[in-house]
Chain length 296, copies 2
């Protein structure tokens, strides 16, 4: 674990219609002392102002899949989000450098899926996991999800730095600001910053040795017709039931005609990111995971 | 009440990201017998295919505010939805004619707000209200909301015909298909068609004399800063609580700093369309209504 954290970035509005992050950054802009700690610097920024103004996920492409190392120095990549990614990479990274401009990125998201308060972690670096374990102690209803990706190279905003993660909260419709989850997310950010303050001032009480996580196994799409339209949607048993434990024979989907499609795997798995609006176009109805207690 | 209904239109996808209506029309296209009745013709159509393909509410402007009589014959109105409105008006109307091509329009919507299963009625014509009263008897959890508009002239899709209404179901995030409310809406459509069949074949058991409704009093916006950004959002007491009865002193909003803003009217009112995503840009956080038992 590094001895000192010098600079942390909190980013919001990566998806312009996920208002929890957008308004948390607004709040910090008005009152920066909320995220100030003595031993390190916290910076905060809206990452996709263009999408925020349209209240859409993105303008041209998903910014949260735009941080691919080769693309960041490819002049043929020129869409709105390609350019944004290059700017953000300059400010916070550059990605892959031994010394990046910030040490840790927390990227704020929301989801239409019932994910409660979740961390989405896509790296195996120790500091990231120590923070996660600390947060689970502070916020017992927090879930930790290890994402194995829908792209070859992890290309999230928080992949610019070695250490960091995304926060996902839901269910929240796109374009809606929900008070309860806004304040819960703000509290979680406070705990993250407290962790770094304790780390820097040698006040951490322990080094965590393990953590319970939901480990990405696979993404499952909706049953679709040849035209790509949905033939079925998520079964009511799973709707609003994030981290649902699936056993063979459990209803998974229901067709528009009312026919039930069951979960047919022998192995029990936990479903999450169930019925997330933004994943319709990506081709996922849910993510299947295994619950694991991993060593740190 | 007219003696005969000859043609009914069911329209969906008026807002391209409200998938309940989009997929119900898909279902009827595959199996038209579902909406077939012997004594009249049912037609069904997607109204805004352009917005559906983008999975956005609209392409250029809200189609469900585009049916203003003067605009429909104004060649200077040329945006995507202006042109669509003219086409749809030709097919189903024309609006204002003594004899329109269809007799009754049911327009399918969903909302991020906890509206349950609701009718939104914007005309005072007798057949509309007889259908509504029949539906309330068939579906006891149905709410009936009389909309007094955010525009001078009612300009909804269903305003093309003298008789008709919109169905609103929620809470559903934009871009999400929820099984439970999909099937509930389909059942409601079945009852509407059954009503017309009974009307045409003189099998209606009674003429309804009154109905309980929520009558539009006013629209209330979020507290906002000079830049138009929200300073507060809906208080958790109201969130997920459609048709909430407000008394003086009840929390209404909570600022981003956690300060509570109360309802200050002496008169009790019922709040609905609470925290609907699409109304952020229109400037409404909710609609206040009075519960009335009106004579038909």
């Amino acid at each position: 674990m590094p001895k000192q954290i010098k600079k942390v970035a909190i980013t919001g509005g990566t998806h312009g219609n996920e208002l929890t992050g957008v308004y948390l950054i607004n709040k910090f802009k008005k009152n920066p002392t909320l995220v100030k700690r003595d031993s390190f610097e916290t910076i905060f920024m809206h990452t996709n102002v263009g999408a925020m103004h349209q209240c859409t996920r993105y303008v041209d492409k998903d910014l949260n899949r735009a941080f691919i190392k080769n693309d960041l120095c490819n002049s043929e990549k020129y869409t709105y989000e390609d350019i944004l990614a290059k700017n953000i990479n300059e400010k916070l990274g550059p990605k892959g450098a031994i010394k990046t401009n910030v040490d840790f990125i927390v990227d704020l998201h929301s989801t239409t899926s019932d994910m409660g308060l979740s961390l989405v972690i896509d790296n195996d670096n120790n500091l990231t996991w120590q923070v996660a374990a600390y947060l689970k102690e502070m916020v017992p209803n927090l879930h930790v999800f290890r994402w194995r990706g829908d792209t070859k190279e992890v290309s999230f905003v928080n992949s610019i730095t070695k250490e960091g993660f995304a926060i996902e909260v839901g269910p929240i419709p796109q374009g809606v600001l929900r008070a309860d989850l806004f304040f819960e997310t703000e509290k979680l950010i406070g705990h993250i910053l407290d962790f770094f303050e304790k780390l820097n001032t040698s006040k951490l009480e322990k080094r965590y040795k393990n953590i319970e996580i939901f480990d990405h196994i696979k993404l499952v799409d909706f049953p679709r017709g040849e035209d790509g339209e949905l033939n079925a949607t998520v079964h009511p048993n799973l709707q609003d039931n994030g981290y649902y434990k699936l056993s063979k024979g459990d209803p998974l989907f229901i067709t528009l005609d009312g026919e039930i499609i069951n979960y047919e795997e022998d192995e029990k798995m936990y479903a999450l990111f169930i019925n997330e609006a933004a994943y319709y176009e990506k081709g996922f109805a849910m993510c299947l995971t295994k619950k694991e207690n991993i060593k740190l």
